[in-house]
């Protein structure tokens, strides 16, 4: 492997559809970390919605579609702990009865990473390119935290941004209530969870709420906007890259 590894950016379906800015922030961060970034096709979705809905056949079909796309690269990086967790932890589980595919899934799993932990742990990034004077708080998204151990890496990089003050919210590790289709299957419970989460985030006095997963971010931003809160929401990659040209999540030209 050269010291400029070839990295496949696994964009994730939510970033692709909702917030391409996060994809570009990821590209810039990876390039700043000395990677050659490509976006191989076809990329659709890691299959997690099917996996968590109990639809194993669709999940396996999508894994078989995704794995060959990612095989030629040194690394696969996703701006999401949830999707990276799917690639890294769950793809190999799908093929217990298919040794050939299991080997391929394991090989892809071994080189798949969540963006921020990849930057810190694999590429040794200490100082991100972003510059921003703001008081920010960080929510630990569940899959990144518990499946991949993403906890200190984003905090370390955020603290290295001059002018950025990082304040911890109470119960930062508690789920925001998104949970993929959970948020629409059980809206009352999901609402209670996102309400508790966003109240705790607001209680820090932060102006900006950050996280590493767009699902959680859409959920928290949607709740905060509904309440008319002053707290704004962005993906952590946007701040680390200093790419703030897009309005905060849930806001447009006119706010």
């Amino acid at each position: 492997m050269s010291d400029r590894p070839r990295v496949a950016l696994f964009v994730t379906c939510l970033v692709d559809l909702f917030r391409p800015s996060v994809g570009w922030a990821a590209v810039e961060l990876l390039e700043a970390a000395g990677c050659r970034v490509e976006v191989p096709e076809p990329q659709v979705c890691c299959g997690q919605p099917a996996f968590n809905s109990g639809d194993r056949r669709t999940t396996e079909d999508l894994a078989r579609q995704t794995i060959p796309t990612l095989e030629p690269f040194d690394y696969v990086v996703a701006p999401s702990g949830s999707c990276a967790g799917m690639l890294r932890k769950h793809f190999p589980e799908l093929f217990d009865e298919d040794p050939a595919w299991k080997r391929r899934a394991e090989a892809v799993a071994a080189k798949s990473f969540e963006l921020v932990s990849f930057l810190v742990e694999v590429r040794g990034m200490r100082k991100p390119p972003g510059r921003l004077c703001v008081r920010a708080t960080y929510h630990d998204s569940c899959s990144g935290l518990r499946e991949l151990g993403v906890k200190e890496q984003p905090r370390a990089l955020l603290r290295a941004i001059p002018g950025l003050e990082l304040v911890e919210m109470e119960a930062a590790e508690v789920c925001c209530g998104f949970g993929g289709t959970f948020c629409v299957k059980y809206p009352e419970i999901s609402t209670k969870m996102v309400e508790d989460k966003t109240r705790r985030a607001e209680a820090t006095g932060a102006e900006l709420l950050l996280a590493g997963d767009l699902g959680c971010l859409l959920n928290m931003a949607g709740r905060l906007a509904r309440r008319g809160s002053a707290l704004r929401v962005r993906h952590v990659a946007e701040v680390l890259a200093g790419r703030l040209d897009a309005a905060p999540i849930g806001y447009g030209k006119e706010g």
Partner: protein
């Protein structure tokens, strides 16, 4: 108990609106959840203990037949009588016949989830016996005609005021204000019951194969009085509770209270080895043990095997954001929280409980705190697969997933569709950046705005800007 789990969403909605439940759940968070964190942090070998516990349970389950037979031999040598029950009905019938043979009128009972699982109380009561719960929480919910809402604290959902009302109604006199006075009142009433009882029924936290002992764990000492004062002691538990040695039981005991309530050890831990011997002054004349299968042996060979490691500490529910939002009664059957979402489909059938394993964000906190490292999300996902195979989810959800799966398998079509969706929603939401309402998205927009896409997909932008060159 007839399972009400299919109504989970309705029951959850009601529970979330109930301030009494919200207060009770806050108590759990600041009490037992924090307690566990402190207890785990204070014990450097806590995680090593968990690994040891997993190994003990896995070993015992791999040789379950062997250890059960060894236990039975020792138990019988000490004068105990074992009854094997294949299912709930058999277990109930055995329990009743033991009570009948003893000519029992009054039965005291210390907390047993297996007794709840088989619906023992209503059955014995319908057969003319008076059953008195002696665990304070169980006693309270018995007076209220309710079922437990938590594995360890069956009455966590109750306020002191409500308990005072129940006591005043049952015992007479004005309602007491102080917790201490309520406890004293219950103690006074229950002491009399212990002495009147003909049979005392307990559960068992562990069975020890090398000695034939039953281990009970309580914080009130009620299991000791329940098993020691009446003539007959009847214990009832599941076959998965057997461990090889006393030392194994201690390893698990060191985890149990820490995981449950944050205590280093529960108030009372008792090893019962046979009925009263001739030279002894105290103890029951006879000791019976009902060992219940009720599907457990079939779990051994299947996807639910790891669930048999469960030591019923309740840590999974104390840390579950869904349980902490709804409380236990929303789950609609005996076992609640994450462990209940795995066990209920096992015991009542997935068709009557598919809602429970679906009611999780898979946040993974339950697995993170489980002392015996049960992969609860994975087991819930297994039930979702079973529910999917049987087509139990509502047709709209199935259709939505089907359409998405159709598109996702066709990347070109998917790209066209997402481009169009991003463009349409992006244009409509361009100014405000979000929607207050969207067709087909009421579940989301009922309480949240829906953030608008930026307008172009990343794939389209990448092609336009970097297409063709690496």
């Amino acid at each position: 108990m007839e399972p009400q789990s299919l109504a989970f969403r309705t029951r959850a909605r009601r529970a979330i609106a109930d301030p009494v439940i919200a207060t009770a759940m806050q108590r759990l968070e600041t009490g037992w959840q924090l307690g566990r964190a402190r207890a785990a942090a204070a014990l450097p070998e806590f995680d090593a203990l968990r690994d040891a516990a997993v190994a003990i349970k896995n070993h015992a389950l791999s040789h379950l037949d062997l250890y059960l037979e060894a236990f039975e031999r020792r138990f019988a040598e000490r004068g105990g009588v074992i009854h094997w029950a294949r299912d709930a009905a058999e277990a109930r019938a055995i329990a009743l016949s033991i009570c009948r043979e003893a000519g029992a009128k009054t039965v005291t009972k210390s907390k047993s989830m297996v007794a709840e699982e088989i619906g023992l109380n209503p059955f014995l009561e319908a057969s003319g016996l008076q059953v008195v719960e002696t665990d304070l929480g169980e006693y309270v919910i018995q007076l209220a005609g309710e079922v437990p809402s938590h594995l360890v604290g069956p009455a966590v959902h109750m306020t002191r005021e409500r308990i005072a009302e129940l006591f005043a109604k049952a015992h007479g006199g004005p309602p007491k204000q102080e917790s201490a006075a309520l406890v004293a009142e219950a103690r006074q009433v229950l002491r009399r019951r212990y002495l009147e009882a003909d049979v005392g029924i307990t559960g068992a936290n562990f069975l020890i194969a090398e000695t034939g002992s039953i281990v009970t764990v309580t914080n009130e000492g009620n299991a000791e009085l329940t098993q020691g004062l009446p003539r007959i002691h009847l214990a009832i538990t599941g076959i998965e509770k057997v461990v090889p040695t006393v030392e194994d039981a201690f390893t698990l005991l060191r985890l149990l209270a820490r995981s449950a309530t944050g205590q280093e050890f529960a108030g009372y831990t008792t090893f019962l080895t046979g009925p009263k011997r001739p030279e002894e002054r105290d103890g029951p004349q006879a000791m019976h043990l009902i060992l219940l299968d009720n599907g457990r042996s079939s779990m051994l060979g299947g996807a639910m095997r790891e669930m048999l490691r469960c030591i019923r500490c309740g840590a999974c529910m104390n840390h579950c954001p869904v349980y902490l939002a709804t409380g236990g009664h929303a789950y609609g059957w005996v076992y609640v929280g994450p462990m209940g979402s795995v066990l209920t489909p096992q015991f009542v059938g997935i068709d009557k409980a598919w809602t429970l394993p679906n009611a999780s964000t898979f946040c993974g906190r339950c697995e993170e705190v489980c002392p015996v490292r049960i992969p609860l999300p994975k087991l819930m996902r297994h039930w979702r697969e079973e529910a999917h195979r049987r087509g139990l989810a509502p047709p709209t959800a199935r259709a939505g997933l089907g359409l998405w799966g159709f598109l996702a398998r066709r990347p070109r079509l998917y790209r066209l569709a997402t481009r169009a969706a991003a463009a349409l929603l992006g244009a409509l939401g361009r100014r405000r950046g979000r929607f207050g309402r969207l067709p087909l998205a009421a579940g989301w927009t009922g309480s949240r705005d829906f953030p608008a896409p930026e307008g172009q997909t990343f794939a389209a932008q990448w092609r336009a800007r970097r297409g063709g060159r690496p």
